[in-house]
Structures are given as C-alpha cells and as structure tokens.
Amino acid sequence: MSVFLQPIYTQTVGAGGTTVISFNNIPQTFTDLQIVISSRTNGTGGVRLIGAYFNGTGYPSNASFRELIGNGSSVSSSGNSAYSTFGYTNDASQTANTFSSHTIYIPNYANTSNFKQLIIDSVSENNATTARQYLAANLWRYTNAITSLQVDCGGEVFQQYTTFSLYGITKG
C-alpha cells in the first residue's frame, strides 16, 4: 500500500471551539509537508482569511503572498507583504454545516538553505451564488527549519468538527 501521504498530526475542534491551532515538534524526517483543513468559524463577515505562522514567532514580518480569487461571478488577484494565509474559511453566516476545504503544500520545510515557499488551493463552498475559490503562493523569508506551526482566524472561534491535519511526504 502506498504511504505517499504519511499522517503526522490531526486536531479536531471540540464542542467549545478554539481560536488557535498549534502543531508542535514537527518531525524533521520528511521531505515536504502537506496540511489539509476543513474549517468553519463563528464569524459573521462572510469569509475570513486563516492566518498562519511558524516556530512560535507570531505573525512573521518576512512573509508575503500572491493570490488569485474567484467568487462565482468575478475574479481578482492581489498580493500582500505583511502576513501569510492558508485561504478563506467558512463562517457562521454561510450555509449550515458547510466547511471550507484547503490543501497547503510546503516543500523543503526542514531545509535550512532555502526560504519556505507554500502553495495553497482552497474553497469555501456555500449554497448561494457567491463562494470563494482561492489559489495562492506564500513566501516565508526564513531559512529556519519549520518545527512548529500555528494558525488562527483573527480571534474568531474555529467551530466544532473543524479539522487540521498534517502530513509528511518523502521523496523517492
């Protein structure tokens, strides 16, 4: 059987919700990392970006991203030099029981010779004409190996059944 995606950690949010998800002591033995997210928050603003940082540094100043977004009727592309994001989460204003879906790929996460370049594809489906599809590249301008990862949503509470899963990928 294939073990192309080796499960490392999974956190499922319980009934009380949580504002921050942390993965600590990430093994350094894989080549790449992949994160899979199914998310919903208690926000009411429609959709909100999931913020991401690593190694306990808080939001990194040396981060930037380029993004391409569709919302069901229009498209946009922009960039930002202030933070990193894993895409838009569903929130409480959207169709009940509906969660956003994200995959984040982080190559060479343990390599101390390169900056960390991420690619993200995510969607926040909704039973209405508007819902977001999100493609992005994030650059973390650090050469440190990634040993821990933290995500939050600007103080919004990740709702019950939200899941964050971390996988390791080993090259052939």
Binding site: S2, T10, T98, A128, T163, S165
Partner: protein, 179 residues
C-alpha cells in the same frame, strides 16, 4: 493515501465510472481523473459526480477558470450533482487530448458536515481559440446534506472515450495531535 479502486476504459467507450460500497474507514477521498468524451462540440463538457445513486436538488458549484486569454468565475445553485464544468475535452478537440482532474472530498463519511468537493483541472488543446483551446481552473461544489458518501458515479455528456480512467484513493489521518 491508499489506492481503493481504479476503473479504466481501455476496452472501449462507456457512459460512467461507478464506485460503489466506498468504505467509510478513511477520512478523506481523492479521485484522479483522465477523461475525454466521444461527443463533439467546441465547448468542453462537464464532469459530474452523482452521489449515493440519487440526484436531489441539493448541490451548487462555483468555479474559477482561465482559457489562456482571460480569467472568469461562474456559479450554479439548485444543481443535483457535484459538477466541474469545462473539464472534459471531446471529439471536437485535438486527438488524444484528455482532461486531468484531481478531486478532493474531505470528511466524506462525517455525518456532522455537508460535503464540499474541491477540484483542480486542466487540459491544453495545442492550439485553437476559446472555448476549445483548453482550460484550467479550481472548482468547488457543495452537497448541502450531511449524509455519508458511499457511492460515486462519474459521468459526462454521452460516453467517455476509450482510455479514459478514474482512480479512487482513501486518505487517513493521524491519531496524534501534536498539540
């Protein structure tokens, strides 16, 4: 990531790929599709997924896509299948050109969640003009029902061409939290 099933049409064209009795023991599903249709029109066909053998009007899709010259976004509500428009080239397009689609369905067996499908697709026609030159895009499609998914039927307009193929994988999660 475990291979669950693979269906090919090496022996000839057929109307659909049917995955039945999908085990509920994995956390996520991934489908990898290599598809072409035998019908013919300049606009490529939709790839559709009928869930659990029924077609309730409980679905919607939203799509971000580009055709090599412009980018656009589209949606449809009150649908009855998971749908990925423009993903299936057909007999109108260059011979031997197939569409590639990678579909993720997270928490497919979780009865606390509606089901969201996320798909990346693309194909290039080696020339031509829109809508027949090729497309790439990211699609989301929702089934606003919390039932577990145990069966998927993948179809297009008419038949899939010979050598079309769909592979189904199961993805597990860890019991360790890393918290």
């Amino acid at each position: 990531m475990f291979p669950l099933a693979s269906i090919n049409m090496n022996s000839g064209a057929a109307a659909s790929f049917n995955f039945t009795n999908i085990p509920s023991t994995f956390t996520h599903l991934q489908l990898r599709c290599f598809v072409r249709a035998t019908s013919s029109q300049s606009t490529p066909y939709d790839l559709t997924l009928t869930v659990n053998g029924t077609n309730p009007t409980e679905f919607a899709y939203h799509q971000l896509r580009g055709d090599g010259s412009s980018v656009s976004s589209a949606n449809l509500t009150s649908d009855n299948v998971f749908r990925i428009p423009l993903a299936v080239p057909d007999a109108f397009h260059t011979a031997n050109v197939f569409g590639n689609v990678v579909i993720d369905i997270l928490d497919y067996a979780n009865t606390n969640k509606s089901k969201t499908m996320r798909a990346i697709f693309g194909w290039d026609n080696n020339g031509g003009s829109s809508p027949s030159a090729g497309w790439t895009g990211l699609t989301s499609s929702g089934w606003f029902n919390t039932n577990a998914i145990n069966r998927l039927e993948i179809a297009t307009f008419g038949n899939f061409s010979q050598y079309s193929r769909v592979d189904l994988y199961g993805i597990s999660t860890s019991t360790a939290t890393g918290a």
